[in-house]
């Protein structure tokens, strides 16, 4: 096993091994002694009709515990902002020119990925799927495009790019506050929950895909040159 940067002295390794083993054993012991129960499964099942979607995990993510999801989309946006704030150096252009196979594959795959993403987004209401899964597919398309073109999207005005990245958080927060009215945050009105959830997921899909794809690239794209 090569360790070019070296490893720690023997004492530290011994202590670390002891600590790790103790922790692992403690967790295993805790798991073995846990009594079985059914948790919140029944509570979720009882409220599914009122949640606006049919799939329990989507209902939990976008309705019952939607506030967690809102903060989670914020975390992803934060990762993008934080990575851009580091001002990574631009990778030198033209070092790895994409081969013919990659270019043809990209032409085939990217449209397929986008269609699949849309399908997964819509599917999330009654089967495993939803914003994150669809966003991940879009990000995959973005990664392929980055490998070929150097950037996921064409030359875009920087403010527009940032706006699209923040769209998920913006729409989620706006919906959460607007439905508050005199009631509670994120309390969808009766009958409109499914529609609002789809709206939030659609906006989030765009932002998630964009954020992940640009995180792959690393540096914030420079503004497009002005055409004379």
């Amino acid at each position: 096993m090569s360790n070019p940067e070296g490893t720690a002295p023997v004492l530290l390794r011994g202590l670390a091994a002891l600590l790790a083993a103790a922790l692992g054993a403690a967790i295993a012991w805790a798991l073995v002694t846990l009594p079985p129960s059914s948790g919140l499964r029944d509570a979720v099942a009882a409220q599914i009709p009122a949640s606006g979607v049919a799939h329990p995990v989507t209902a939990v993510l976008l309705n019952f515990r939607g506030y967690d999801t809102l903060l989670e989309v914020a975390v992803l946006l934060l990762a993008l902002i934080a990575t851009w704030s580091l001002r990574l150096a631009r990778p030198p252009a033209g070092r790895n020119s994409p081969g013919l196979v990659l270019q043809d594959l990209v032409r085939l795959l990217v449209p397929l990925l986008i269609v699949l993403a849309g399908y997964l987004l819509w599917l999330g209401a009654h089967a495993p799927g939803g914003a994150f899964q669809a966003g991940a597919l879009l990000a995959g398309a973005g990664v392929l495009l980055t490998l070929v073109e150097g950037r996921p999207l064409g030359p875009l005005a920087p403010a527009v790019l940032r706006g699209l990245a923040a769209l998920g958080v913006a729409v989620f927060l706006a919906v959460a506050l607007l439905v508050m009215g005199g009631g509670r945050l994120l309390e969808y009105p009766r009958g409109q929950a499914g529609l609002l959830i789809l709206l939030i997921e659609a906006a989030s899909t765009v932002s998630i895909g964009l954020a992940l794809a640009y995180l792959f690239r690393g540096d914030e794209p420079a503004p497009p040159e002005h055409r004379r």
Binding site: A21, L31, L40
Partner: protein
């Protein structure tokens, strides 16, 4: 041992391996990978610790989905920061704290 418990114990083993590597390995990339291994171990444990009578409980699954997204975000940023550290110091390792040296103009 039930299948779910097997996953749980596997999760515990992953956490142990990841913790060892995080402490002992010097290269930043290995430390970040170690953190990911710990994270996956925690997710496995979460799902295994969740109540298991009959059909699965969706709440821990949703929690793990949230955890995965958070882990991906953190890993992406950690990798970018590691690249930055390597560019600034020449080596992809944690620079020693090196405190008591008076530096340049104030910041």
């Amino acid at each position: 041992m039930s299948p779910l418990l097997t996953y749980g114990v596997a999760g515990a083993v992953l956490i142990a391996i990841g913790l060892y590597a995080l402490i002992v390995r010097r290269h930043l990339l290995r430390k970040i990978v170690a953190l990911n291994v710990i994270g996956n171990g925690v997710f496995l444990t979460l799902v295994a610790a969740a109540p298991r009578l009959g059909t699965p409980d969706p709440v821990p699954h949703a929690m793990v989905l949230t955890g995965i997204v958070v882990a991906v975000s953190a890993t992406a940023f950690a990798l970018a920061l590691a690249v930055r550290v390597r560019d600034a110091t020449g080596a992809a390792v944690l620079p020693p704290p090196g405190d008591d040296v008076a530096g340049g103009p104030g910041h």
